[in-house]
Symmetry: C2
């Protein structure tokens, strides 16, 4: 399917059926896709991307829903991409999705897409980013990536966002202490949700002291910690205000362009490495690896020599 | 430094200074290394590898220490590689290391190496695995990988282990529900540590029901859930028994060979992909990417076309 005029028109009119079809097309990825992706990419550029990430159970969906309600009240259009690599496992996402659809998903200005897979995480984040291009081409004012903070995947997605919000709960105490550097470094600000629970203030304190240890001195942006009870809509407006404040900061200082250049470098690198991986592991070399691996176990050949042989083959024989 | 006879002799005598030097050499990786790695690799093959992973604060170090004490009581030798990508951030590992060194690290039959870095996680797991080859060549009976379960890194390391133990705490309730599939799939058995705390039994129940949903029908191995209070040495002997039971199971069914072939395939793939990445992103192409990225932001070129140009350049110009 290429982008004929009629499809384009419907896409720009935010026809949800056309959007869904295009995203599915992008997801299934069948070779001729990159021409389609190209077409779609060139028609975007106007959406503002917000990443909302954090541990499972932090209330990211609830917060996303409330933020979306505020945005549509202001006449904005919102596309949501919810990525949960854990969901096929627990089945949690499906239930959440149904609640969400009735709450905001039926509104004409809101499009929601859930993505979940047991398979390769790298692939999942690539698809999510490609899907956001479709929403961008459709002209959504805001694209919200909602991702479960469990691995590399959501870090990759966060790295395509203009503003990244990390959502925690008071009980995250231990995890905050030991929180992986990656999650700390991507946060433009933090939200401690469910802050009507005990320990909220001390979670904020713990977070503050970690932030002070890691202050990025080369930025004028002050990383705040907000407290919310998203399920009761407490503090959600302040979260939106903070997002818009950050947006304004990025736009006024030229940091938005800078960040998008950085994000796109990461994106291109991921596309390249993914492509190299696909080319490298063709059937012949997969078979060669399978045949030789027992010799590695028997210490007849080292993994380094075997790796070298494989690379040599790729370079001389090619795809 | 190549492996001369004297060095080899000292390595086999488990001279800790020589081991440390070799691991450092492997860590710093300066080109001529793969010949050294090759040499080291071919001299190993006798160690049994145990992976101990789980969320921060689950008590993995305490459990590892207690298990090590039991093993040295039985006259075994133990090499420990503790990988914590979060530690440079919190400083936690350093304190833990000091306690550990006085507890077991001074014993002649125990060697401990901590690895932590803010940098690339992929690199970290590669180094950890390479380091384990040094311990294997030195002839340690057991190599324990202790890794914080926060990302791809510890999954990679787990995939080089013969037996993988996933350690949780009763409070992991929410996280158990939403636990990423990866962590569930690598566990040969589970330990719920700190099980004198409330909620331990219900954590076990929750885990059991998840396990039932995900039963791997093609394996005769029954995944157990053990409860421990490692700090009081409760249940630790049972953990060791379970490890040895799993080892015996793997050896008797031929599954050990099978698992090691699989693990080595993954290892070789990682080496190949790492090498391709290094070759791909030479100075020229990094610069080209940096120059072109603003055009991607301006939608003059798509990330897909730019990626294609870069791959084309790699293939025609090479390194």
């Amino acid at each position: 399917m290429m982008l004929d005029e009629k499809t384009l028109e419907k896409l720009r009119a935010k026809d949800k059926r056309v959007i869904s079809k295009l995203i599915t097309k992008v997801e299934t990825d069948e070779g001729e896709e990159s021409a389609l992706l190209d077409e779609i990419y060139k028609r975007g550029g106007n959406s503002y991307r917000i990443g909302i990430t954090g541990p499972p159970g932090a209330g990211k969906s609830t917060l996303t829903n409330q933020l979306t309600k505020l945005l549509i009240e202001q006449g904005k259009t919102v596309g949501i991409i919810a990525v949960d690599p854990t969901s096929p496992f627990t089945g949690g996402a499906l239930l959440g999705d149904r609640v969400r659809m009735t709450e905001i998903g039926l509104h004409p200005n809101v499009y929601i897409r859930s993505m979940a897979t047991r398979g390769s995480l790298g692939g999942l984040s690539k698809k999510a980013i490609d899907a956001s291009d479709v929403l961008d081409a459709a002209g959504y004012d805001y694209i919200i990536f909602e991702t479960v903070g469990v691995g590399q995947s959501e870090l990759d997605i966060a790295k395509t966002s203009d503003t990244t919000v990390v959502v925690l709960v008071p009980e995250s105490g231990d995890s905050i202490q030991a929180m992986k550097a990656g999650l700390m470094e991507i946060a433009d600000f933090f939200v401690v949700n469910k802050s009507d629970r005990p320990g909220s203030d001390s979670a904020v304190m713990a977070l503050k002291s970690i932030l002070q240890l890691n202050r990025q001195t080369n930025s004028a942006w002050q990383i705040e910690i907000l407290q919310t009870v998203a399920s009761q809509n407490q503090g959600v407006r302040e979260v939106l205000d903070e997002i818009l404040k950050h947006k304004k900061y990025l736009e006024e200082t030229g940091a938005l362009e800078e960040r998008r250049v950085r994000n796109n470098k990461i994106r291109v690198k991921n596309i390249v490495e993914n492509e190299l991986r696909i080319e490298m592991w063709n059937e012949t070399r997969e078979k060669y690896l399978a045949d030789e691996a027992p010799k590695v176990v028997a210490r007849e050949i080292s993994p380094f020599t075997l790796a070298e042989n494989l690379i040599e083959n790729y370079k001389t024989v090619g795809v």
